[in-house]
Subunit: 218 residues, 4 copies
């Protein structure tokens, strides 16, 4: 007796529907990442979470890395809008530093993705997709740079210089962060002190302060 196949997911025919489904996949990825970390994202898990079959994912993204790249673009846009919202013209440097730190604190996904961007993601994505992504990200960078200039009173061009350094600092400080290590109670006190030297909060906060002072002076 031949059995019926399991009923397939309703097909997405219109561009809007396809866009929705794409968004649903990304949402599943975000949710999974929040719970279990970026590295544990698998295509199978994503599919199940999105209520789709594994193969279907490949109708929307050519590779796993393409999912991450799309995720990155979303996260970048979000981070940018948080930063821009937090920066207001005429604010003090201290306030700006605090605002930047605060906006960044809330964007762990952005940090995780940005760290992997050049190392892994860009190596495994069709060139056309990469070109599109680069083109899509430029205006975001420019926008943040512009906002930095106007809110901090920087000279034209300094927004981008400051922004680039800021981004590097952000990634580096995140990479140096020892995470839960500082909380292990089996660490000797002196070692705990050493570990504390590379806490994200400290390194990033101090670094931003220096960068801002530097851009003012230059």
């Amino acid at each position: 007796m031949p059995k019926k196949a399991a009923p397939a997911q309703r097909r997405a025919r219109t561009p809007d529907q396809k866009q929705d489904r794409r968004a649903a996949i990304l949402a599943a990825a975000v949710a999974h990442t929040r719970e279990s970390g970026l590295d544990s994202v698998t295509m199978a898990g994503l599919a199940k979470r999105a209520g789709l079959a594994k193969g279907t994912l490949y109708l929307y993204f050519e590779t796993r890395e393409e999912v991450f790249l799309a995720l990155y673009l979303d996260a970048l846009a979000q981070w940018a809008s948080r930063i821009e919202a937090a920066l207001v013209p005429g604010m003090s440097d201290d306030a700006a530093i605090a605002a930047i730190a605060e906006a960044t604190r809330g964007a762990p996904l952005f940090i995780a993705l940005a760290s992997r961007l050049s190392g892994v993601i860009e190596q495994n994505v069709p060139i056309a997709t990469l070109v599109a992504a680069k083109r899509a990200s430029l205006p975001v960078y420019l926008s943040v740079a512009g906002r930095l200039e106007e809110s901090l009173g920087l000279a034209a061009g300094d927004g981008m210089r400051f922004g680039s350094a800021l981004m590097a600092l952000l990634l580096g400080a995140a990479g140096m962060d020892t995470g839960d290590l500082a909380m292990r109670d089996d660490l000797p006190g002196d070692v705990r002190d050493i570990v504390a030297l590379s806490r994200f909060e400290t390194v990033f906060g101090e670094g931003v302060r220096l960068l801002l002072a530097g851009i003012r002076r230059s």
Copy 2:
């Protein structure tokens, strides 16, 4: 099921000989990394390259990550000595910036290892080894910080503040670097320009300049 054994490599019996063998393993790892990248290092490959049996590696390092950690400590020491040798009291800021950039350029292994330090390496190493590593690295950091202070005429304490930010910037700029991407000739011109924005040289160089100006001002 009893296994066979077999004599092979001359045995390292004295502490000195054992130290040498350990160093030989690390040297093999460095050589392999230089050719094929850090991620492609496997214990089997390492063993073959060092002319040892796989099991022998585990007499010297408990896990693969412990190899990396040892590698990091060596690379850190080398980087530090390059930096310290390049920094001389009384040098101009521009000269210092160039010296730091130059010293770092020659230490790609250090950068690669540092990037993975907290993310992967520290998660997979016995706590005792980690403690030892942390304790071993502190004097190196302090030494670099001291050298920064004396050569750049920084106030006490500013060497460490500057150094931490410098390290973060270094890692971040390395992480942002798009590597060979900028050289692909199938990239449209506008995209190539975008990619160029995150070249390591540029980002790191500009960033160091800002940091140094900032520490001077603060």
Copy 3:
């Protein structure tokens, strides 16, 4: 690093086909065991023998132990049906003893699997699978027990008591069996006699006789 894939074996799409494929894997395992013993079963070997890729095995069994557990359930069912077929109401005790011994002789796989059941298999199987297996085996035990009662004229409940002891005796006698050892011609005569004391046939046969006499008397 993306992996390649490749089409190969015809796909099992319907539940029936999947059941067939599952059975084919188990058949491969049985064949291999018969030739080389249970302990030499490897997933790689199984895959090759079944004409499948290694990964495919894991679509049907979550772990190696799950294969063994499935094998056990099959072997149990077979052993039970052999026993039940051999036991007929009204047969003499001697005939029953001979029948049980005979039925068991032909089930070396069952014995091998049963020996490992609690020691290894049950320790490495998802709890849900274990529960299902336990539930599946109960009716078999009950059926054998019932058959023992009706064919041997045992009181209600005595079938299970006798059956449990029988199973223990079976496993123990199999475990004591020295196998080929008795046939080595480099054994001194006196030692050969000692070894003969623990031959499976002897120990099991005598033991069953005692158990049966015991259950009759009790």
Copy 4:
């Protein structure tokens, strides 16, 4: 500068000293087994525990299995003496059953070793050692058999017949035992009942009762 080797263990020269060292190794094995189980015994662990070097072990035992075989002979002797001490002439069958069960309960090492005897140990031991072991164990079996006869009033020869079946039952019941499984609280009630059917205590106790009744009747 050549370093001194670590001071070696004082040499055992007289037969007594050698015997002592051998005993020390076995004692280490017993201690380890009690803590972590038989399967986790490694030659390296044994050496460390006995305060010897790995190579030294091989001066006293040719293979790992030979250690187990020696362990078995000790455990057998102990179990036999417990059994014999517990069996007194004129005792009731019920008392005898209880005594046997009790004596066995306290000999988990004996059970573990006996289970592995023919399967693994005897396969990996030099034939001469095996012959010696077989010859050494016969008088023990005979002694137990004799004791069974005199304390239970069995006919000549029945002691050995009963004893063989008893041993098989013992091993089999131990092999069927599900150990900690019965205590897992994530098991459904019905499954827990099934698991309980193969508890060592129950199966062995009931089995001995049947065997004894059987030998009385035959």
